[in-house]
């Protein structure tokens, strides 16, 4: 799959053919308003995804990673959310869609899987019925055909004795099994884009790796594009081609997964790598990132990471750094990149 790397770099170049891009997010801002407080969850994210590419958005809680993902399907509460910028998926302008267009788009062009599969299913219908219903609604086929597709999907996501399992209710499935069922549901209308919001975080270690391997295999077979949201660097390494690190509502570093993990350049990414506990560091202090992420109802001016950054100087607290190109698609938004080269 060496050619994959080539497409990836081509995407970064300005002359990339637009047809190759499945997702194009430009200057996305998401603000949540309550009468008392405004939370600036996402503050100007630019992100593209090629067809067949797997991207991980890596970040901590409150970094805006899930909000960015949900904006792609407009799953945020309409009345409280202000979305600006542009989000295009498969040539369609998501932010301009009517309700009708949106319900055609969801499931068919883009589908999402969540951390909590039990919440994705209705507890009073069997999982088979729910998958069949989705297929019938979107493709106008009969219920029998819908059920046949559900069975095929259950086989595909490796649910043992699939036929019997279709009749199960969500609570009858174990954690890993219900996650597989949710993946089947998401794939039921052959989406071009799969959005995954921490789908393995709540799973046990031995089950997590099974689900990651399954997603990788399905992605390869179906040629889907995937955006995977996680806080776990190891999961990102297992699943993705490219990584985008988010901090305080902005992208701080993007690049091929190997590059970002082997040679991170943004001080936040570096801090994350160095603060990881491991066996080799036993008995030593961890070099933790001091402080805590900023309050997003009043984000600091300039670089949001500056108050916690060992390299920060006066510039950092005043002006926002733009993305700098570091070669072959690796980019970081930092004023002091000169100091972070290894």
């Amino acid at each position: 799959m060496k050619s994959d790397v080539m497409t990836r770099t081509a995407v970064q170049a300005p002359m990339a053919a637009p047809a190759e891009l499945l997702v194009e997010i430009r200057d996305l801002h998401v603000h949540f308003g309550t009468p008392r407080r405004q939370v600036q969850a996402v503050n100007g994210v630019d992100l593209t995804l090629a067809r067949g590419e797997v991207l991980t958005i890596l970040g901590e809680s409150g970094s805006g990673k899930s909000v960015t993902l949900r904006s792609l399907m407009r799953l945020l509460p309409e009345r409280k959310t202000r979305l600006t910028g542009s989000v295009r998926v498969d040539g369609q302008d998501v932010l301009a869609m009517s309700r009708r267009e949106l319900s055609r788009f969801r499931g068919r062009t883009a589908a999402m899987i969540f951390q909590e599969p039990m919440l994705a299913f209705d507890p009073v219908f069997s999982v088979g019925d729910q998958i069949a219903e989705t297929v019938c609604r979107h493709e106008g086929v009969s219920r029998r055909e819908g059920l046949a597709r559900a069975l095929e999907l259950f086989d595909r996501v490796r649910i043992p004795s699939a036929k019997r399992r279709l009749a199960n209710y969500p609570h009858e499935l174990s954690g890993g099994m219900s996650q597989r069922a949710m993946i089947a549901l998401a794939l039921s209308c052959r989406p071009k884009l799969l959005l995954a919001d921490e789908p393995t975080t709540a799973l046990d270690a031995t089950v997590q790796i099974q689900i990651l391997l399954l997603l990788r295999e399905l992605q390869r077979e179906l040629g889907m594009s995937v955006i995977f949201v996680t806080h776990d660097m190891g999961v990102a390494n297992e699943i993705s081609d490219r990584i985008a690190v988010m901090y305080a509502g902005r992208l701080v570093e993007t690049g091929a997964v190997d590059t970002v993990i082997a040679q991170p350049r943004h001080p936040y990414t570096l801090g994350l790598m160095h603060s990881r506990a491991s066996g080799e560091l036993r008995g030593q202090r961890l070099s933790a990132i001091p402080g805590a992420p900023p309050d997003m109802s009043a984000p600091p001016p300039g670089c949001a990471f500056a108050p916690r950054c060992p390299h920060a100087d006066a510039t950092c607290t005043q002006a926002l750094p733009g993305m700098s190109e570091l070669g072959s698609g690796h980019r970081a938004a930092c004023w002091r990149l000169g100091e972070t080269a290894s």
Partner: protein, 357 residues
């Protein structure tokens, strides 16, 4: 009192350094989930099914395992938050909760616990200072002295008392709340701290801060930790010894490095190769186990792990292996084929391979 030359400066230390701080024998807890018409139990969850272990003075013992393995139930049984069905807990030579032994009240003074959910474990109507001072007051420390102790502890866990003492739990971040919980656990000056997934809900950058704090406090107060977690990297970092649990039983115990380098139970080995790879360019190629961990209701005869075990033989299905010492001592495994497992690991398994990208 048994005065040996090894006696430490802690006046509460009774048996000397060689005596384990905590010794657990045959600890058992079954939850009945279904009864027949006469109230007789029909089916039960074998949450903790007879486990033996000890925690040495001044060490950190890590407990790892997946959901349903009984690690949290064990912690709750030790604190008597749950009533054990059987077994013995001996704290520094004194049996806990029996006539003539250590009373529960006295035991809780020496043993404290920090939970995963930092918010649920604090009273939302008490200020941070009140929460921390509450324990000492219950145990007869004066009001003013308890408050002073609370402020001193807040300072020690890295929260400025002037800024934080009067705040309520909802005004703090997750990391700050967990620091408060640690301060509260230390307010009674315990000797053993049980940390049940205490850093699991924290963001990675905050997790490292709290791990450092735990290291500092351990040195300062000469604490002993029982560190329960599902995160193998963190457990390896913090623990001197590690105990692996599976379906209510101990699968393996040993020195941290020895156990990670040469696991002697197929389950431990599977857990380790299930960790996502962090090496650039290397990805896991095959999952070590299929399916979910079974629930501990209907247990198979013989070894509990054998239905999922790649090495299972007839012996495993017929008889349950005892936790037995491996040659060299200190390393125990409950596997009939422990020796072969270890030998196989020393010729590394090709579970992680160069991926084609």
């Amino acid at each position: 009192m048994n005065v040996t030359p090894m006696v430490t400066s802690d006046p509460r230390d009774r048996g000397g350094k060689a005596q384990p701080l905590l010794r657990v024998k045959g600890l058992r807890k079954h939850f009945v989930i279904k009864r027949d018409l006469l109230g007789r139990p029909l089916s039960r969850v074998h949450a903790v099914d007879g486990i033996d272990f000890e925690v040495r003075k001044g060490e950190t013992l890590g407990i790892v395992g997946e959901s349903g393995c009984g690690k949290s139930t064990t912690a709750r049984l030790l604190m008597h938050l749950l009533q054990p069905d059987g077994g013995e807990v001996i704290f520094d030579g004194d049996p806990v909760g029996t006539r003539g032994g250590l009373s529960l009240r006295e035991m809780r003074r020496q043993m404290q616990m920090v939970f995963q959910n930092s918010y649920a474990s604090l009273n939302p109507r008490m200020t941070i200072e009140e929460s921390i001072a509450f324990g000492p007051q219950v145990h007869g420390v004066g009001r003013r002295e308890s408050r002073q102790r609370a402020r001193r502890l807040l300072d020690q866990v890295g929260l400025l008392p002037e800024r934080f003492a009067q705040r309520y739990p909802h005004e703090l971040s997750g990391g700050q709340r967990q620091r408060v919980n640690i301060a509260r656990a230390l307010a009674l000056e315990p000797r053993l701290l049980i940390l049940d997934e205490a850093v699991s809900a924290l963001d990675k950058s905050v997790e490292a801060q709290v791990l450092n704090l735990l290291g500092d406090l351990k040195q300062e107060y000469g604490l002993t930790y029982l560190f329960i977690s599902h995160d193998l990297n963190v457990v390896r970092y913090i623990s001197d010894r590690v105990m692996v649990m599976y379906l209510g039983k101990v699968a393996e115990v040993g020195d941290s490095e020895a156990l990670y380098r040469a696991p002697a139970h197929p389950y431990t080995r599977a857990l380790m190769s299930a960790m996502p790879s962090l090496e650039p360019g290397r990805r896991t190629q095959t999952a070590p186990l299929a399916g979910d961990p079974p629930n501990p209701i209907d247990l198979p005869p013989g070894c509990r792990f054998c239905p999922r075990c790649p090495l299972a033989v007839d012996l495993c299905r017929a008889s349950e292996p005892e936790l037995a010492a491996l040659p060299g001592g200190g390393h125990l495994s409950a596997c009939h084929r422990a020796g072969e497992v270890q030998a196989e690991v020393s010729n590394p398994q090709p579970s992680v391979e160069e991926s084609v990208r």
